[in-house]
Symmetry: C2
Subunit: 233 residues, 2 copies
């Protein structure tokens, strides 16, 4: 089965609108999965965790559909400059959103495991990381919708706070583990949840960088430093 | 600065050859970084770890250069079917290789931290994971060079063994940590190294899937399960 099908003589702008619509749907789904996974964590709600795991299939499907439509447009039309960047960045962003979905599933699975582990005090940093990561992702997707490179440029610097929280949690949790070995299981799981949140914030930064390239044809990657904390994974 | 520059009236196949040459250079660099990071770990060689950290810049540069050339070809030519898939998959693979470089850097940084931690017995699983991940990456890149979809198809299933090793290490290291809190620091660092190796094997699988799509126009993603272990990060 080929992803490249002759799509009939659709109008070019109609095809682009269709592609944009698919990415908006995927954005909505991916962002909803992150929110739901964080809710499942904070409310210890296993039904929500399962909903995240089940919901990721739709995100995966949308990535394939976006790749298919993008290849179709590239094969049948000859998009120039701005439109071309829109198409290739849509493919890149959908790849990032697919990974956002995977990280949400990782969080949901960790919530399921936490339920079987000894209770563990709240780590307030996790809630703050979650709220920052969600806001970064939401703003990055918003900057895509509005084609707003300036707004996109304000997202990357916010990643520093998320990295700082992750590094501070890493040290705090290590201390907990050393003080009381019964805490090792839940602390490790909490650490892995926060690692997934940190990665979601990184992916939001990637999306924002892709929006800037799409709008301005200017690359800002690799200068902003894809930083790795002490537990850089 | 625009990534899309008028490249002059180069011949189409010359441009494709140039793009392929860049990806081969990037493959070589990325694979060398993984090998060097594993050597730095097994030989506890901090100079090699530093070499990995310094060498990643070239991998990052090559990703940008590949994106630039790919956009140039897409804008100035109108590649069809197979060539189009070659160009878009080259962009995707270079994105994966850039992440392989990042994971090598994470391993190198972890090796530097291990040097300041209490000595920790060898974990033979790490060496096996490293050798499997390197072989998978090397074979995936080889299948790209040869356009060999059958060889690419044999790579994904090998990821199961890597996941199995990671999950088994996770349990073993958790036990070590519970038995002796002094082992928590080095065990956590070792776990993070193995997580990075597990991710490199995942990325090799992604590359192999992209080779299959490039050669056959057939999608095998999402069916093969991008599995997450108990510590899926």
């Amino acid at each position: 089965m080929s992803r490249i099908e002759s799509g009939g003589p659709r109008h070019f702008h109609e095809e682009l609108t269709r592609l944009k619509g698919l990415l908006l749907e995927m954005s909505g789904e991916a962002e909803a999965l992150v929110r739901l996974s964080v809710d499942s964590l904070l409310e210890q709600d296993l039904a929500k965790a399962q909903e995240v795991i089940d919901g990721d299939d739709r995100v995966d499907e949308l990535e394939l559909e976006i790749d298919r439509v993008a290849h179709e447009i590239l094969a049948l039309q000859q998009p120039m400059a701005g439109d071309l960047r829109f198409i290739t960045m849509t493919m890149k962003i959908s790849n990032d959103l697919e990974r956002v979905g995977d990280h949400s599933v990782n969080i949901a699975r960790a919530v399921q495991r936490l339920a079987d582990l000894p209770p563990f005090g709240r780590a307030p940093e996790v809630a703050e990381m979650a709220s920052l990561a969600i806001a970064m992702l939401s703003d990055a997707l918003d900057s895509f919708v509005r084609g707003d490179a300036q707004a996109a440029g304000e997202i990357g610097p916010r990643d520093d706070r998320v990295d700082h929280l992750y590094n501070s949690m890493f040290r705090v949790l290590l201390t907990h583990m050393m003080e009381d070995p019964r805490r090792i299981g839940p602390a490790m799981t909490t650490l892995l949840i926060s690692k997934n949140l940190e990665r979601i914030a990184d992916l939001a930064t990637n999306v924002a960088e892709d929006v800037i390239f799409m709008v301005e044809g200017r690359v800002i990657k690799h200068g902003t430093g894809r930083s790795s904390g002490p537990a850089g994974g």
